[in-house]
């Protein structure tokens, strides 16, 4: 199979919970990297030449090294500059693009053994060769639970992961070739490896002093650190003169600056101190008023949904779930509550992901009449029944959850009660399955495949399946997709799985996100990279 690119993840909700800047997930990988200049959505006009310096807003990252400890959008934005991806994924076709460190990635017939061949002659910034050992070193470190790496979960499919220092499934063939044996067939493993931070190689010098490496990571990418990480203040990267890869690197120097609040960042932008920033909801309206169409608005891959405790009454009744979904006017909420910064859902898989469909969800429309009919057919009497809604507090969910709850009340007659809890407590309730009613959750991709939405959310025992939904047919179809020989075949199986889930509605998809980016007149070619969930910083050119 071919792989494509990036991944990313979801610290989204956590980050939103912090009220920090926008962010999506991020990863470090190359997006359509090589052909960087061709940005279709250019609100920014490409006039700049390579070179120059610009500054961009960034939230303090969690870790920069080991890369495997990076599982949120901010560190991956930086690491994407500093590290080359192993491979990237094409968002149109889902095919792998070999514009990173890998020459080829080939699975065997049953998708259990994957052979990675590296490009010759690539080195780390410090001159160490990027060879099989560099990958084995990093991956074994990540998989060892003693090291508590945030992305250890990505290694979980490799044979022997999580059991000590070295994974049995990882074998060096020669300096530029290594073999990965999975514990079961998985057709999307190639795509998965496009989540760059989790699969990045590590230099021996870095391994010898991880602490120092975290302050000034030693990478393989187009940019290298200029000085070390100034915590809560900034990170500066500068172009690596000896770079031999294909990832985009237009500006000579990028200064990432950190701000305490989104407002402080926006004030600095207005003051002329900042060239590129993601607009948080706090400042979006003010910015929109001043900048109007100069703001770049792009769809993101983040899904927001309401889950049902499907084992509890009345949510055990499929028709009740469908009725609730039909009673909600998503477009109205998006326009009125979210300032238009979202796109009503038509599928569990969000639009920018290959394999997403714009007509998959029959019950995601607003149809009060059908909703009432379905509720009647279900035999549930809404009279006197109160639905408990759950969401995490202080993360911008209060208004829309209430709006949706009211719409359900007006159409179906259910009273509602809103339960806002702290994030940590919310996760605890979630893990324990203690929700008594619809609960809010979000999801963003780790790797661009429909599988990465369906299995975690609606697969039996999925990592993010908190609804207790379990349908052997869905699982079977997902497995079929995993084992399929081609991308089309696998998508076909995933689509069928998605159809069943969208019909039975253990979750109701609400909308996918839209990000808003402001940039100064001194930069051009600003593009949002969906896979990374970040602005494609490497492609930005300096015009003045």
């Amino acid at each position: 199979m071919r792989v494509k690119t990036p991944l990313r993840v979801t610290a989204v909700s956590a980050v939103l919970a912090l009220g920090l800047a926008a962010c999506g997930g991020g990863d470090g990988d190359g997006e359509n990297g090589g052909d960087g200049a061709t940005t279709p959505d250019a609100a920014a006009s490409p006039t700049g030449q390579p070179g120059g310096t610009y500054s961009a807003e960034l939230t303090e990252p969690s870790y920069l090294a080991p890369a495997s400890n990076c599982y949120e959008s901010e560190c991956s934005a930086v690491l994407k500059m500093v590290n080359d991806p192993l491979v990237t994924t094409d968002f149109e076709s889902g095919e792998l693009i070999f514009d990173g460190l890998a020459e080829s990635i080939e699975p065997n017939d049953d998708q259990t053994v994957w052979t990675v061949t590296l490009k010759d002659g690539r080195t780390f910034h410090n001159g160490e060769p990027v060879n099989s050992d560099a990958f084995l070193r990093a991956w074994n470190y990540s998989a060892n639970p003693k090291n508590a790496q945030a992305t250890a979960g990505f290694m979980a499919r490799i044979d022997g992961a999580g059991k000590g220092k070295e994974m049995a499934g990882l074998k060096k063939v020669d300096d530029t070739t290594f073999e990965i044996t999975l514990s079961g067939p998985f057709s999307q493993f190639g795509s998965m490896m496009s989540y760059a931070p989790a699969f990045a190689p590590m230099a021996q010098e870095c391994m010898d002093d991880l602490k120092a490496c975290n302050e000034a990571p030693i990478g393989t990418g187009p940019y290298m650190m200029d000085g070390s990480w100034e915590h809560d203040k900034g990170i500066t990267v500068t172009r690596w003169a000896d770079y031999q890869g294909e990832q985009a690197a237009q500006a000579d120097t990028i200064e990432f600056k950190m701000f305490t609040t989104p407002t402080a960042a926006f004030r600095d932008y207005q003051n002329g101190g900042l060239d590129v920033l993601s607009l948080a909801p706090d400042v979006y309206l003010e910015a929109k008023g001043q900048l109007g169409d100069k703001i770049l608005e792009e769809p993101t891959a983040t899904l927001t949904y309401l889950g049902f405790p499907t084992a509890k009454k009345p949510y055990d009744e499929v028709k009740v779930r469908q009725a609730i979904s039909l009673a909600i006017d998503r477009q109205l909420i998006v326009d009125q509550v979210l300032n238009g910064l979202a796109k009503p859902s038509t599928d569990i898989v969000t639009p920018p992901i290959p394999g997403s469909r714009d007509d998959a969800c029959d019950y995601c429309t607003h149809d009060p009449e059908q909703a009432k009919t379905l509720l009647e057919e279900s035999g549930v009497d809404a009279e006197g029944m109160t639905l408990e809604y759950y969401f995490n507090a202080d993360a911008g969910h209060d208004q829309w959850v209430e709006a949706a709850a009211r719409q359900v009340q007006e159409t179906l007659g259910f009273d509602y009660k809103l339960n806002a809890t702290e994030w940590a407590q919310y996760l605890e309730l979630l893990d324990a399955g203690n929700f008594e009613g619809p609960f809010r959750l979000g999801w963003s991709l780790d790797y661009p495949s429909p599988e990465n939405y369906l299995r975690p959310i609606v697969g039996t025992d999925g990592d993010s399946n908190y609804t207790e939904y379990s349908n052997p047919e869905v699982d079977e179809l997902l497995t079929q997709g995993d084992q399929a020989g081609s991308i089309e075949e696998s998508y076909d199986a995933y689509h069928q799985a998605g159809d069943i889930a969208l019909d039975e509605m253990p979750i109701i998809p609400m909308w996918s996100g839209v990000t808003a980016i402001a940039f100064s007149e001194e930069v051009g070619d600003v593009r949002y990279d969906v896979g990374d969930g970040e602005i494609a910083f490497g492609e930005i050119t300096v015009t003045q």
Partner: protein, 334 residues
């Protein structure tokens, strides 16, 4: 004097222990009621359970008592005391030493506090003296109205407005103009600028100091009016001393005792107020550190930094008390 200082230093111990215990209790209760901060570091898609368990062990959060609401977890408290006594204030959830982060940021907060203190004392005392000497005249009414208005505005509102109108609108004009000197534009900036470590803290310092400015002006005014009526002032007048000398040397010095007391307490307020001001103006100081730690529920940082700030506050107050003796010759410490 030496014995006095020694006695005061010994009094520090219960205060610090009490503060620590309170912080410990609050954070323990938070974890017990709200839930595991390690789990909250990750979102819906958590890493494997083994990773979470390892992190819990690394941060000493795997103690069973953290799952029993109401349990004060005394064992953990004793552990923490031992650790702090050795000068180790722990690490944050990203593996950085709290002490290191504090040292990195403390100078910035000290600069900000100095600017705020100088501003509020100088302007506050001047306004207080003016009002006190012209009791019930226009100057007095103006100062009284002005100070009430200042106190009515929370730092948060005042700071946001100052940033928007002075820092951005006026300041940007100055920075872009040909005629205004560079230092003036930097003094009225929207945020901290590392190239101007003092100048760019002037506006935030003024914002931070303005709340206390009101209190200082009013304290000075009241205490001055009171002292002007006292016997020794009458005696001085009868002796034919000039008003300048009476006010400047005799009355004012005495009147400043409540003001100095206030300034001592105010150092604590300023360090606390810096939390908001540093947040608004993006100043990489201790307040911002606490602000960020609170947002991310980073308990080790909150407890560590607040403990250090408590010590700073205690020392500042001790210095103030010693200063009394200099202001009022009748006060002696034996």
């Amino acid at each position: 004097m030496g014995r006095y200082v020694a006695r005061r230093l010994i009094q520090f111990i219960p205060v610090i222990l009490g503060t620590l215990f309170l912080l410990h209790l609050l954070s323990t209760l938070t974890i017990q009621v709200v839930g595991d901060p390690v789990r909250a570091l990750f979102g819906e898609n958590a890493p494997p359970a083994a990773v979470i368990d390892q992190m819990r062990a690394d941060y000493n959060l795997d103690d069973a008592c953290l799952e029993q609401p109401g349990n004060p977890c005394l064992g953990l408290f004793v552990d923490r005391l031992g650790q702090y006594a050795g000068g180790d204030f722990g690490i944050n959830f990203r593996g950085r030493a709290v002490t290191e982060m504090f040292i990195e940021r403390f100078p910035v907060t000290v600069r900000l506090t100095i600017i705020a203190l100088v501003f509020e004392t100088v302007v506050g005392i001047l306004m207080g003296v003016l009002a006190g000497l012209r009791k019930d005249k226009f100057a007095d009414n103006f100062v009284r109205f002005f100070t009430v208005a200042l106190v009515a505005f929370p730092t948060f509102v005042f700071g946001t407005l100052a940033q928007l109108f002075i820092g951005l609108q006026l300041g940007l004009e100055l920075r872009n103009s040909d005629w205004a000197p560079d230092w003036l534009g930097q003094m009225l900036n929207v945020g901290y600028n590392a190239d101007y470590p003092w100048l760019s803290l002037v506006l935030p310092g003024v914002v931070l100091g303005s709340f206390s400015l009101a209190s200082i002006a009013r304290l000075t005014r009241t205490s001055l009016i009171e002292n002007l009526r006292s016997d020794y002032v009458r005696t001085a007048r009868a002796k034919g001393l000039r008003t300048r000398r009476i006010v400047g040397i005799h009355t004012l010095r005495n009147s400043l005792i409540p003001v100095v007391t206030y300034i001592g307490i105010d150092i604590g307020l300023l360090l606390g107020g810096a939390l908001v001001t540093e947040g608004i103006f993006n100043i990489p100081g201790v307040g911002q550190l606490v602000w960020l730690a609170i947002q991310s529920n980073d308990t080790p940082v909150i407890i560590g930094v607040v403990t250090i700030l408590t010590i700073v506050f205690l020392v500042a107050n001790l210095l103030v008390d010693i200063l009394y003796a200099a202001l009022d010759p009748r006060i002696r410490y034996e």
